[in-house]
């Protein structure tokens, strides 16, 4: 007697029988003997020969699976709908939005002084870049020219943040490919970088240190020694990485030739940063349209040649070396002077002036309560973040809050290359490819 025939069975949903019997077990007293035996594993659902007959005669039959949003290799909450033919990926659709918190809308309600705290949370692995792009756009509208020291401090922080971001990439990339030692090493180096950032800005992440008109504070005493010690430790560590990964056959097997993309595709899809450079296209905003003081430092733009996962890994590894080079030059050449513009309408007065000057107190109060007004207009400013072009499009209506704040997140645009890279590869390659694109979901969803 089957469940459906059982006169005492009133569970109509159990009647939805499939070719392999009911999908849900009926309550124990209702289920027949065969059902119970199936549950216990004593009876095979189907004999091997029967199952063989069920195999799809058509090779083109595919299945669709969801990868993520909770899969650890999806770097947060990226969901990929994969169409699979066996283990080969055919079509992919990235599904995003799980981390959308409406930060662009929030930005319209915050003053330009508060705006930094908002944008810094977008790309949480490289917060300094978000602040930089936002401040550059505001400064364009205000027509501010920054003192050289402010420019250099910003450049120093940008490069320090690029180090921590790339170390994070190396750690997660290692983890995704099964190299747990690399994960620990990457986190270790990143942590040291974050400690330095904490010493300078007071926070490990979400610094809000780069402010309109300069930075929030000057570099603390002894920063040269701390930074130099950190920089000295890095080349040896990178050699270790090279031995651990670059020279290792398994690592090369997993990455070389996987997820290849050519320049035309990358350009057509709007990919920037290491993805574009991995195709051999030397486009780096630091070199092409220098901002801060990048025109006064010596560094190389790293490019790849095959556009595969290995190139993207190697580019980031070598960009760490270039950042170290820039940071050494910062230690050597950081000019003396003011770390921010002395414009009382934009930057707050020094603390000690507040005790002695009524004017200073008023300016301080004004800046921290209603902020400053920005002339009407629109501006777009971009920086080279570790992931590509991070742009900020700002529209001001002349009030103290942005009329429209839009961040062009490189991760958001770069995600579009995934379907192209994944096609024809295996699911295991998909993990390597997602990792090599290095998306930060906070920036994708904003």
């Amino acid at each position: 007697m089957t469940i459906a025939e059982n006169p005492t069975n009133h569970h109509h949903d159990l009647e939805r029988l499939t070719s392999e019997g009911a999908q849900e077990m009926a309550p124990r007293p209702l289920a027949g003997g065969v059902e119970v035996l199936r549950e216990l594993g004593c009876v095979l659902r189907m004999s091997e020969s029967e199952a063989e007959a069920l195999e799809a005669p058509d090779d083109a039959e595919t299945s669709i699976i969801n990868m993520g949003p909770q899969h650890p290799s999806t770097h947060g909450v990226l969901r990929l709908m994969l169409e699979l033919d066996g283990e080969i990926v055919l079509r992919t659709k990235p599904v995003i939005g799980y981390l959308h918190t409406g930060m662009e809308k929030t930005g319209e309600d915050l003053t330009y002084v508060q705006g930094g705290t908002n944008v810094t949370r977008m790309d949480y692995a490289s917060p300094i870049f978000n602040e930089s792009a936002f401040c550059l756009a505001v400064e364009q509208l205000l027509g501010l020219e920054l003192p050289p020291r402010a420019q250099w401090i910003r450049m120093l922080l940008n490069e320090l943040n690029r180090l921590t971001s790339h170390f994070l990439f190396l750690a997660t990339n290692g983890m995704d490919l099964g190299s747990t030692s690399m994960m620990i090493y990457g986190w270790r180096e990143r942590e040291e970088g974050l400690r330095l950032l904490e010493m300078i800005t007071g926070l490990r992440m979400n610094h809000n240190f780069i402010r309109v008109g300069g930075t929030a504070a000057d570099l603390p005493d002894g920063w040269q020694e701390r930074l130099a010690a950190y920089l000295e430790s890095i080349p040896g560590r990178l050699e270790e990485y090279e031995a651990l990964m670059t020279d290792q056959p398994i690592w090369r097997e997993r990455l070389q030739g996987v997820g290849a993309i050519d320049t035309d595709e990358a350009v057509a899809l709007g990919a920037t940063g290491p993805i574009l450079r991995s195709t051999g296209y030397a486009w780096d905003l630091r070199r092409a349209t220098p901002y801060f003081a990048y025109d006064q430092v010596d560094f190389d733009v790293i490019v790849g040649s095959y556009g595969d996962c290995f190139d993207r890994y190697a580019i980031r590894l070598n960009e760490i070396r270039e950042s170290v080079k820039i940071l050494w030059q910062c230690i050597e050449h950081l000019p003396a002077g003011d770390y921010r513009l002395q414009d009382r309408k934009v930057t707050p007065p020094p603390r000690r002036r507040i005790d002695e000057s009524m004017e200073a107190l008023i300016h301080h109060f004004k800046i921290y309560t209603e902020g400053f007004k920005v002339p009407e207009g629109e501006a777009y400013a971009a920086v080279e973040s570790p992931r590509g072009e991070l742009g900020c499009y700002l529209v001001s209506d002349g009030s103290g809050t942005p009329y429209r704040l839009h961040m062009r997140g490189p991760s958001f645009v770069n995600l579009q290359v995934l379907p192209h890279m994944l096609r024809g590869g295996t699911v295991a390659d998909a993990v390597a490819i997602i990792s090599s694109v290095d998306p930060i979901m906070g920036e994708v969803d904003r």
Binding site: G270, W283, A382, R404, H406, R408, Q416
Partner: protein, 177 residues
């Protein structure tokens, strides 16, 4: 600041003070902070972007929009009718090392813009984002669905008439003594 054309570079002057209106493929152009800003009509957009791509504006960096509901802007060149929405497209020329911004006026009654997908496939996600957050439709887009918000979301949050909402805060009355 004197307004004679001799000692003022094109970067610094306000758009309406430019001596001769600049034109790019029949589209009025102004300059903002060293960047050229073109104002094509919606039906000119795809052709213009295609022509520009063939001229070296290889990449479309960004597609976004602005809702000018509460801010009547004054920086439009002559002959451009201000509409409620504006779709903003940012192109980049790697050879010229320059960005170009295209601002397309989109009427509130019929917010439709032709999709740039055929010219720059990389605009796919960005156009979906604009559709999601502004409700501007892109004609010819292969998959115009919501991208950031849930599929059943009502409204388009980045429109200016969309409230930001609030969370009721619980207050306790001061304890009575």
């Amino acid at each position: 600041m004197s307004d004679t054309p001799d000692d003022v570079t094109a970067d610094q002057v306000a758009p309406d003070a430019t001596p001769e209106p600049e034109v790019l493929h029949g589209v009025p152009v102004t300059r903002r902070f060293g960047q050229r800003v073109a104002f094509p009509a919606a039906d000119q957009l795809v052709e213009l972007v295609r022509t520009l791509r063939d001229e070296g504006w290889l990449m479309c960096l960004d597609v976004t929009a602005v809702d000018y509901l509460t801010h009547p802007r004054a920086d439009l060149p002559e002959g451009i009718e201000a509409e409620r929405f504006e779709v903003v497209v940012t192109l980049i020329s790697h050879a010229e090392r320059e960005r170009l911004r295209l601002r397309v006026q989109v009427p509130e009654a019929d917010p439709v813009v032709p999709s740039l997908f055929e010219v720059h496939p990389g605009t796919e996600a960005m156009e979906r984002e604009v559709y999601d957050l502004f409700g501007i439709r892109f004609d010819g887009h292969p998959d115009l669905t919501r991208i950031l918000l849930p599929e059943d979301w009502v409204g388009h949050p980045l429109r200016k008439d969309y409230g930001i909402g609030s969370i009721p805060v619980q207050f306790k009355a001061p304890s009575e003594r």
